[in-house]
């Protein structure tokens, strides 16, 4: 859920340059607790801005990575994720013309996914500031309940984003989708919607609002007992 923040760790320029970032976090849970995690970052509506910034050496005192560096970071991310225990079928699909990155992996359980992401982000963190030390789990699963929240570190990171950068996120969106093999009974978050098939839950937030209130995407989803 907090992975939109993780994108900041990997590609810090995204925050500054993307007036319209679209993030989709798509989690499919199997009955045994395993599942598939998909994460998509779509910057296609800001591509001219990104192209401009990629042509610069630095922006506001921060080094702007070149496209090959970004590609290499993405490849490193893929390789590191593949090596994490309990993680398989890691795929990254990139469309650099439109600046769309789609990540996907299978996991044996949500703890494994959490741990894997944490390890990889920490390995890739350029400096100590970027490292993540969660004492808090952002996702937990029992056979009939999925609980998602944002760890404290996210709040800390949000406070580090400059006001001028926050304003750029006003038109962005974050969509969190959770899919199940059993029908959904109810959800805690009143903003969440259940699909007509009742097999999926969607929660959408504006990225700007999310930075102001990271708890907006917290949700507990209850599945039918039967």
């Amino acid at each position: 859920m907090n992975n939109w923040l993780k994108a900041i760790y990997i590609l810090p320029l995204f925050i500054g340059l993307s007036s319209c970032v679209e993030i989709i976090d798509d989690l499919s849970m199997n009955l045994d607790g395993s599942g598939t995690f998909k994460y998509t970052v779509n910057l296609s509506s800001s591509k001219s801005k990104i192209n401009t910034i990629l042509n610069l050496d630095s922006l506001d005192g921060k080094k702007v990575p070149k496209l090959p560096e970004i590609k290499s970071k993405v490849a490193e991310f893929t390789s590191l994720m593949s090596k994490q225990p309990g993680i398989s079928n890691v795929k990254v699909e990139t469309k650099y013309d439109d600046y769309i990155i789609k990540f996907q992996c299978n996991f044996t359980n949500v703890s494994v996914l959490q741990e894997a992401l944490k390890n990889v982000i920490n390995t890739l963190a350029i400096d100590k500031k970027g490292s993540v030390d969660y004492a808090y789990n952002w996702i937990s699963w029992s056979s009939t309940k999925l609980q998602r929240s944002i760890p404290e570190i996210s709040l800390q990171k949000v406070s580090e984003i400059k006001q001028s950068e926050l304003d750029l996120l006003r038109t962005g969106s974050y969509t969190s989708i959770s899919r199940f093999q059993k029908p959904v009974e109810k959800t805690d978050n009143p903003n969440a919607t259940i699909s007509t098939s009742r097999m999926a839950v969607m929660l959408k937030a504006n990225t700007f609002t999310l930075t102001k209130n990271p708890k907006i995407l917290e949700n507990t989803i209850y599945l039918n007992q039967k």
Binding site: S44, S45, K47, S48, K49, T52, T175, R179
Partner: protein, 629 residues
């Protein structure tokens, strides 16, 4: 009566012999900005003043809280003297500093509170220094100066000593010796590692360890830099205070310029900048006769200027002087008429535009006539001779009529504001039943500054040929196709998709003897034959074309403040930032170019608001400083 005469004479003599701040400008200065009427600045706070780029040399001294809540008036400066900011550079070192009058040293040292007195080597001069700069006070004048050795020279000397001592490259990294940090305990002794390649002479006296400790590369470099700095500092200050070699005495043109009573004056000796440019010095060894002739070509090339304040506008009147040879080239270049066809493509609403007219053909012929003899003079350089031969043959064989008819020399450019441009984006569409999603390409809009650049041409068939061929050449590419559009309105243009920043289209219009490149869709689709009544007025074009080579007009509020930072280089952004937040109009006009000189006038019509006149003067100086530094 005799007493009155004596008093008057004494006053007159004392006025004449009184030290003036401009007399403390070293002869090495190449650029000097002098602010004469500093009365204007009395109300400006020191904090505000030191924010300006032209005060950057002082910023380390002043950004430490010592300027808080102080105006320039409180800082002990003498308002009857000029403030002079100067810069200079030669292959060995660079100088930068400020000279000014002092009325109250106690107040002065409340601002320059980091300076400590040092023993002065110069009679009648008090010397103070800080970590970065030297402050020298002679009578009622002060000089704040920094002398910095050329970095490349420091590197060269350091490398030379470093390798002569038998050391390896300082950038080589020995992975096997990667240090493992161990905790430091009290009682541990610090072990200094001596480079193994260094042979110890048993006769050396090592009793003074501070003298003989082996320095690492960076320590050695720092020592060399410091030693050179002291040497060059002494050289500059000896010249100034012992040999009396000051700019006002060594350059009569500067002396004349600084005597003007305008609000500010500007002096820039381009010939010395050329001569002392590190890159050109390289040629002195390789092609000595060319080096000497090129220097000769720029001899006497000096730019001086006056800042004149009139009611609600400031004028920067610049005079560029050059010698006969260079003057011949400039004169030929400026012998051009503005093609009236460009007028119709500059919209009246344009917040900024420029027109530029030169006679390319004449300038080429004149430059060829003057420069070729210089190039052919060099006898002992076969590579150069081969290049000169190619140049000579091309001059014979190439169809110059076609080239100079295709591009005659009239250029124009306009900034047409920031517009929404159409781009494509990928959207994710969700299925309500399952929340599965798929990608769909949709139209999007992004803000983009809209520019138009065009040239007048007598041979529109040549750009047409190029465009037609390019259309075919690029046809097989994935992106960047060129397409010919001829819509019902009779508008015809070429469009290259994803040409700008891989997203926005570039339009190419080749009509009415004008070839245009623009990202303005409106111009391409609706005004390929010109803006007609919506174009700038004939009166405005006349004003633009009446003068010399260039005319530019910019409405600061609706131009500079709208420029997105992203699309400009750091240097360009520095200039734009200097003007950001200002309001008013800037107009640049040039006079007819003569064989000895050209006049250029930059007028800044400001809107009177919260800012006072002093701020506007400083804004103007700052913009000029950034442009010329």
């Amino acid at each position: 009566m005799k007493k009155i005469l004596l008093v008057c004479t004494l006053f007159f003599v004392s006025t004449l012999v009184a030290q003036k701040s401009e007399e403390l400008i070293p002869s090495e200065a190449i650029t000097v900005f002098s602010l004469n009427n500093i009365q204007l600045l009395q109300k400006i706070s020191m904090d505000q003043l030191v924010q300006y780029d032209f005060m950057e040399e002082l910023q380390q001294e002043l950004f430490d809280g010592s300027t808080n809540n102080k105006t320039i008036k409180d800082s002990g400066l003498d308002f009857d003297q000029k403030i002079n900011v100067f810069l200079g550079k030669n292959p060995d070192y660079s100088i930068s500093g400020v000279s000014f009058g002092v009325s109250n040293t106690t107040n002065l040292f409340t601002v320059f509170d980091d300076f400590t007195p040092v023993e002065s080597s110069y009679s009648g001069v008090e010397w103070y220094d800080s970590y970065f700069n030297n402050l020298l006070i002679k009578g009622k004048t002060a000089l704040l100066i920094r002398v910095e050795p050329n970095e490349k020279k420091v590197d060269k000397i350091t490398d030379s000593i470093w390798y002569a001592r038998g050391n390896n490259s300082p950038w080589e990294y020995d992975f096997e010796e990667e240090a493992v940090e161990e905790p430091y305990d009290e009682g541990d002794t610090l072990e200094v590692k001596i480079d193994e390649g260094y042979e110890v002479n048993p006769e050396d006296d090592f009793s003074d360890t501070s003298e003989n400790l082996m320095k690492n590369y960076y320590e050695l470099r720092d020592s060399i830099q410091f030693a050179l700095q002291l040497d060059y500092e002494k050289l500059v200050l000896d010249e100034l205070f012992i040999q009396n070699k000051k700019l006002v005495a060594t350059d009569s043109r500067f002396a004349e310029q600084i005597s003007h009573n305008s609000e500010g004056t500007f002096y820039f000796d381009y010939s010395r900048k050329m001569e002392k440019t590190q890159g050109l010095t390289y040629f002195s060894g390789v092609v000595p006769s060319i080096y000497s002739d090129v220097n000769e070509l720029y001899e006497g090339n000096i730019i001086t200027g006056d800042l004149v304040f009139v009611d609600d506008h400031i004028e920067f009147q610049v005079l560029t002087k050059y010698n006969k040879q260079l003057g011949e080239i400039y004169y030929s270049l400026a012998d051009a008429k503005m093609d009236p066809a460009v007028k119709k493509y500059i919209p009246q609403s344009s917040p900024a535009f420029f027109v530029y007219k030169v006679n390319m053909r004449e300038a080429y012929e004149k430059a060829y006539e003057i420069i070729m003899p210089i190039l052919t003079k060099e006898e002992n350089n076969s590579r150069l001779s081969a290049n000169v031969m190619m140049l000579d043959l091309m001059n014979e064989f190439i169809n110059k009529d076609a080239i100079f008819d295709a591009y005659r020399g009239s250029v124009f450019g306009s900034f047409n504001g920031v517009k929404k441009i159409k781009t494509k984006k990928i959207e994710f569409i969700y299925d309500e039943a399952t929340y599965d999603y798929y990608e769909k390409e949709t139209e999007a809009e992004e803000d983009m500054p809209v520019f138009t650049v065009g040239i007048s041409t007598k041979r529109p068939d040549i750009p047409e040929k190029i465009l037609k061929y390019m259309t075919k050449i690029l046809a097989t590419r994935k992106d960047g196709h060129i397409q010919y559009i001829n819509n019902v309105k009779g508008s015809e243009y070429y469009v290259m998709d994803k040409a700008i920043l891989n997203s926005a289209p570039l339009y190419m219009i080749n009509k009415n003897g004008v070839f245009i490149l623009t990202n303005d869709e409106d111009l391409a689709k609706n005004y390929t034959n010109g803006y007609d009544k919506k174009a700038i007025s004939s009166k405005e074009l006349k004003k633009a074309s009446q003068g010399g080579m260039m005319y530019a007009k910019i409405d600061l509020n609706s131009t500079v403040n709208l420029f997105p930072r992203d699309i400009f280089s750091p240097k360009e952004n520095e200039i734009i930032d200097a003007l950001r937040g200002k309001s008013g109009t800037m107009e640049l006009t040039t006079s007819k170019t003569l064989k000895e000189q050209t006049n250029l006038n930059l007028t800044y019509d400001f809107v009177t608001g919260k800012e006072g006149t002093g701020e506007h003067v400083l804004d103007m100086i700052n913009a000029i400083y950034i442009l010329t530094k």
